[in-house]
Amino acid sequence: MSLEHSLKNNGFLTTSLDFVTNWARANALWPMPMGLACCAIEMMAFAGPKYDASRFGSEVMRFSPRQSDVMIVAGWCTYKMSHAIRRIWDQMPDPKWCIAMGACASTGGMHRCYGVVQGVDNFLPVDVYVSGCPPRPDALLNALMQIQDKIKSEHSTTLDA
């Protein structure tokens, strides 16, 4: 039974503004693909037709940070690269979320050495960590769904006093 039918063309619907905002935000999460290493290959598979991130409204990989909502840090990050990543992160408009994809982005992984940041959470506010080396595209989809759940539980609307 469709919504229009139950309203019989003369009713209206009330909901909370939070619900509508979060519904819109959660189902159009445009990723900023910060592909740094082999995890980026799995990230491409995540966007491609087989795993199909467009089911979750996330197929539009935006290479401009100003148009994206969620940064997927895929791969190991050196100290030199960290400055570039932070700059891109700072250019993304709020609200924004961050996925640390794979062991290297989460903890430094096997790159336990002087040149690699031991986890991007040293300079980024990470929302979801994905385990694996590299993680399967399913795991990244799961991370995306966790971010959707997180958004849906947020209270984003505030009233000015």
């Binding site: 960290s82 050495c113 002087y114 300079f123 506010p125």
Partner: protein
């Protein structure tokens, strides 16, 4: 004359020309390594390029032998394009003031390799045209491939980006 014989001939020619400057000749898995005294290394390399057509510098790298004497090693991996002979020419330098003459005037391609050796081991190359670090930040204080350098680096020695607090 097969390649092994050609290689022997080259080593013999170095020995005849430079005598005691050739400190050691060793062979391992088919590769011949010639250890040259530090003050003759530049002459030997120039002699090999000009007289034996070793025009191709495949690689130039450093090593930390971690010995009390002659701690650092610089290795030149060169190929003669006329005979196909590959030779590893090595030289040792001391821990205090490790300086090796540059090979950039012999093979210009040695430029970045020498910068890498300087970056990683702290070996200076006298006469190098652009003696800067190549990988690590320019103001970095340490040489990470030295054996005493800790695996995870010196904490706080490389800056992370400033993380401004997220505004609501």
């Amino acid at each position: 004359m097969d390649r092994a014989a050609k290689k022997e001939a080259v080593v013999k020619a170095i020995k005849e020309k430079f005598g005691v400057a050739v400190r050691d000749v060793s062979e391992y898995t088919g590769d011949t390594k010639v250890l040259i005294a530090l003050d003759s290394i530049h002459d030997v390399l120039l002699f090999l390029r000009d007289e034996h057509h070793f025009v191709y510098l495949t690689d130039l790298f450093g090593a930390d032998r971690f010995t009390s004497e002659d701690r650092f090693e610089v290795i030149y991996n060169i190929v003669s394009l006329k005979t196909g002979v590959r030779l590893f020419v090595k030289t040792w330098c001391p821990e205090e003031n490790p300086v090796v003459p540059t090979a950039t005037d012999i093979w210009p391609g040695a430029n970045w390799n020498e910068r890498e050796v300087w970056d990683m081991f702290g070996i200076r190359f006298e006469g190098h045209p652009d003696h800067r670090r190549i990988y690590m930040p320019e103001d970095y204080q340490y040489h990470p491939m030295r054996k005493e350098f800790p695996l995870l680096g010196i904490p706080g020695s490389i800056d992370l980006p400033t993380t401004t607090p997220d505004t609501e």
